[in-house]
């Protein structure tokens, strides 16, 4: 199935290079949504994401001939272009991602010595306020909002696997193809990123206790 998708994409790229409007529209419709969501998750801004998608396809129009089938799939080629544009966008804007107020406060508390430290057994020693699971007491929507902001604070190489696997539901293998790195790298970065996210969210605990997050409670 994946192979036929790739074959179709390669065929479309070939026709696109010859100036076929329909081929361009078809390849655009096949990939724009995935690229847009990826860019939204990476930038936190639909406007910037739309710009990234536009720049990605403009690059494709101008440099269709740069695609080399031996180096990867057309989808990976497009994601590679999008990643480059995201990198340029960040360099150009020198942007700092706006954090929600609660998360910003929580992070600054963490910087003041309240970070998750591990003991020899891999866990932090019990401290005041840690008797409950750190995300208990938050509404789902609240957690989602905080998580969205926390993801934006991750370094790129951690944010990318989180975006692809946890938000977009891609397998490790699919993410590895798009990120052009080994599956093991995706896996280890993802694990590390998830732990970082928990650490970032931990100080944001608010409100009354809620048990929705218990295992099996979803």
């Amino acid at each position: 199935m994946a192979e036929s998708v790739e074959t179709r994409d390669v065929e479309l790229l070939r026709r696109l290079a010859a100036g076929d409007d329909d081929a361009f529209l078809e390849i655009y419709h096949r990939h724009q949504a995935g690229l847009f969501r990826y860019a939204v998750h990476m930038t936190g801004s639909p406007e910037s994401a739309a710009d990234v998608v536009q720049e990605t396809f403009l690059t494709l129009i101008r440099h269709t001939g740069n695609y080399d089938q031996a180096k990867g799939t057309p989808a990976a080629f497009l994601f590679g272009i999008a990643r480059n544009h995201l990198r340029k966008l960040r360099e150009k804007e020198g942007r700092y991602v706006p954090l929600s107020e609660e998360l910003a406060q929580g992070l600054s508390a963490g910087e003041n010595g309240d970070s998750w430290r591990t003991n020899g057994n891999g866990h932090s020693p019990p401290r005041r306020g840690q008797a409950e699971a750190i995300l208990e007491g938050l509404e789902r929507a609240q957690i989602a909002e905080l998580l969205r902001d926390a993801i934006l604070t991750l370094p790129d190489h951690y944010r990318e696997p989180v975006t692809m696997c946890d938000l977009e539901g891609k397998s490790y293998g699919e993410a590895a193809i798009l990120l052009e790195c080994p599956v093991g790298t995706v896996r280890s970065r993802l694990n590390r990123a998830r732990s970082m996210l928990l650490d970032k969210l931990r100080p944001a605990r608010l409100g009354p206790k809620a048990n929705w997050a218990r295992p099996g409670g979803k």
Partner: protein
């Protein structure tokens, strides 16, 4: 590993465990057993679950997101413009190649067809309306003085090169400036009425009336006629 899973080991697998990505049954059982007896790890598991649920929520909320329609419109326009330009570029490239090939062929034909030892013929040049002398359309481009002295010889050479240049030499058009040796002027063959010939300063008495006359007009770089020469 069953009973001996440490908190560090638990920490390494907890996210995959709650997302059901951990398929090894024995490891799953060991993790569950560890969480039952370790309160911090049980909390860690709850947090990891909350994180997984929140991630799923974010993913689902963005599921229907599409790039704004204006992007598609502007991209399609850019695509068509790009390929129109590319098509023109290709056409121009081919035209350039064709022109270069034609020039090369003419050059080769000229070089191979010319009698040995004869200098390349350059039509026109060195015409002065001030001199009042007949102008030589086939004289090689040299200085004005040289042209005046070489005109008779060149006129002889003309007749051997082109049988049509037999009727007369160029007659300068009155009240026009001199044409210099390096002026890349050109000769235009036209049909003229006797009246037009008279306007160009040609002695019309020498031409039959009521007939169009075939003539070569020597035109300077500025577009003004400098000399006229009858062909028949």
């Amino acid at each position: 590993m069953n009973d001996e899973m440490t908190c560090r080991e638990f920490d390494e697998i907890v996210h995959e465990f709650v997302r059901m990505e951990l398929l090894d049954v024995s490891v799953r059982e060991a993790a569950l057993q560890h969480a039952e007896h370790c309160e911090p790890c049980a909390r860690r598991m709850a947090d990891a679950t909350a994180l997984a649920v929140a991630s799923e929520m974010i993913g689902q909320s963005a599921q229907g997101a599409q790039t704004p329609a204006r992007v598609e419109t502007s991209l399609l326009t850019a695509f068509q413009k790009h390929h129109r330009r590319a098509s023109w570029r290709r056409t121009l490239e081919w035209a350039s190649v064709g022109a270069a090939a034609a020039v090369l062929l003419v050059f080769l034909w000229t070089v191979s067809g010319r009698p040995r030892g004869q200098s390349p013929s350059v039509p026109k040049k060195d015409v002065s309306s001030q001199s009042g002398m007949p102008l030589d359309a086939q004289a090689p481009a040299t200085s004005k003085g040289d042209a005046a002295s070489q005109a008779p010889d060149a006129a002889v050479a003309d007749s051997s090169l082109s049988e049509t240049y037999v009727a007369s030499d160029f007659v300068p058009v009155p009240f026009t400036g001199a044409i210099s040796a390096d002026d890349p002027g050109m000769i235009v063959r036209v049909q003229l009425t006797p009246a037009s010939l008279a306007q160009l300063g040609y002695p019309v008495a020498e031409t039959p009336d009521q007939e169009l006359v075939l003539a070569d007009v020597l035109v300077g770089e500025d577009g003004w006629p400098r000399g006229v020469k009858l062909i028949q």
